[in-house]
Symmetry: C2
Subunit: 342 residues, 2 copies
């Protein structure tokens, strides 16, 4: 016989999972500990989670060191550092940026660890730790994390968009993560919304990302400055999306216009996604989505103009992500939990 | 004790369902007869299906008569005409064009029956027949039918596109029909691919449908003829998409260009959908998709140019729909079977 003491937040969390039918005595007994890993741009994070607690029971963060060799050994070391001593770990979940095949667990390329090319990450982890492992990309898993633990709780159809250097997507349909046949679904930044439009980071033209990402905002400002437009922004130095947002807050007309255009095209892209997925919530993550009315005033006007039927907006929640830096870890955790339940 | 005699096609069908795990002894026992209804533009069709047979055990087709009153009574009459005398019917499935809420069974508007406005179709059918009824729109159900009985058999992630007067979509994700929160998902013809592009039938601009539908092809030809371009096509009369395809087959440069442009934009749209859904098969239905190389030569070039990673095309099947006029009935049947299995 024993008693478990939860913090108030954890008790609420366990109760909510139970009430939402995402947890039951049987599942609790099956799933004790999940190890989650987030291979981020600056930091490699690992944590161990007890299924009934929101907070990790162990957590470690080290620098990613993208160009150093022996990345897999360094990864193993971080995982071992947070591995629970006296409890069984059931599965490992991993979040990584860049193209990955979640069905085979092969990381094709990741900017954060240069030596990995078609690297069989989950097979290697399973070989080492003797338990199942799953991987998916960071945007998909941030969406999954927001659905399970964040702003999307209680929703069954979720559209998550990260608006940052690029634009990425994660989609939940009827409580399942949209992955696709090759595991490449929800690459929503790479939707053509203007044939022969501006160049995108991927090499194609006119994608949503080429208009509404930080890079797109910077490109527009650079073009206008080159054409001789007046602004408080420096005409030859690189102006970051953040610097542009600061200039906009000081009333700079060019900076304001740059964000307004990004918001307008974001509304066009999101209308397309409403027509495609018809979610009940749209969640925005990423640095550029922190710009408030600068971006979202024109976004709202444009979204309302573009939807083909007002019913798409009935009860639709549009909100910000809640989980911040932990979304990768929590998404990796949610992925492992979801796969174990299958 | 008794023996059931199947035709060879039906025996193969039952075996396939069983092997694919879509049928089992338990489900067979649960689901004996489904009644399917297709409210089409010219004909109202109804059929009764035994779960183990591909061919209907009863079938009737009458004219739709969109503007006549008492549509529901006429519908009831057609259904009663094919209702099996000595067997239990488990559910009714209905296919209808136009916006419908599959979650509540309310037909908002349908061009084929003008008197129905926010008409609670499934509730009325259940009230009359005492069994559950489900409804969804024709493009979704044609996609579902192709997945279960047609070109998409054995695939788990299917993108169906009908290219006809308009462009419609139906999407299957991991063996489930994508319906969305309001039941309005997969309205894929209404994806903006060219901001401020040509006017679409829905009143917005630059949608895939405004370029690649029969209407889009006709619009392009009319514009070019108005501008004085030479062609065998009549400069003032209306040229239908079919007439334009005939002119193209005779070598008319304008007609050839009209189809080629439609195919190019269709490739751009489908690339967007691969990035969003990542299916293993793309199935084309609808009259305009019967145009062969006229449409699909430029489509293929454009699709290959537009995908952001060649992996989307690995093993991807691109093919024509198999079910023709019966796709509405078979989709309505598949919907009812799917819902009963839940």
């Amino acid at each position: 016989m024993g008693f478990f003491y939860f913090s108030s937040k954890d008790a609420q969390f366990a109760l909510r999972l139970f009430l939402e039918g995402k947890s039951s005595y049987g599942i609790m007994a099956l799933m004790s500990i999940i190890v989650a890993v987030d291979i981020g741009g600056t930091h490699l994070r690992a944590a161990a989670y007890n299924h009934n607690q929101f907070q990790p029971i162990a957590y470690k963060r080290v620098e990613t060191k993208a160009s150093e060799p022996n990345a897999f050994s360094r990864l193993i070391k971080v995982i071992e550092d947070i591995w629970p001593q006296n409890e069984k770990v059931d599965a490992i979940g991993v979040s990584t940026p860049g193209p990955v095949d979640p069905h085979t667990g092969i990381v094709m390329v990741t900017p954060n660890i240069k030596e990995w090319r078609d690297f069989p990450l989950t097979a290697k982890l399973t070989e080492h730790f003797g338990i199942p492992a799953w991987v998916d990309n960071d945007a998909n898993l941030a969406g999954l994390a927001e659905w399970k633990f964040g702003a999307g709780r209680g929703h069954h159809n979720v559209l998550y968009l990260t608006v940052s250097t690029g634009v990425g997507g994660g989609v939940i349909i009827e409580d399942r993560l949209l992955q696709g046949y090759h595991g490449l679904a929800a690459e929503l930044g790479h939707s053509t919304i203007q044939v022969d439009g501006p160049l995108c980071g991927c090499g194609k033209r006119g994608h949503l990302e080429s208009f509404s990402s930080g890079t797109g905002i910077e490109r527009f400002v650079a073009e206008q400055l080159n054409a001789g437009r007046e602004s408080v922004l420096h005409p030859t130095k690189k102006n970051s999306a953040y610097m542009i947002s600061e200039a906009a807050k000081q009333g700079d007309a060019l900076a304001i216009e740059a964000y307004s255009i990004a918001g307008k095209y974001l509304g066009i892209g999101v209308a397309n996604f409403l027509h495609a997925f018809d979610p009940s919530i749209v969640i925005f993550g990423g640095g550029v989505s922190q710009s408030g009315p600068l971006l979202f005033d024109s976004f709202e006007v444009s979204l309302k103009e573009q939807v083909i039927h007002p019913r798409y907006l009935d009860g639709l929640v549009i909100t910000k992500a809640e989980l911040g830096d932990d979304s990768g870890l929590l998404g990796a955790r949610a992925l492992a939990e979801l796969k174990l339940q299958k």
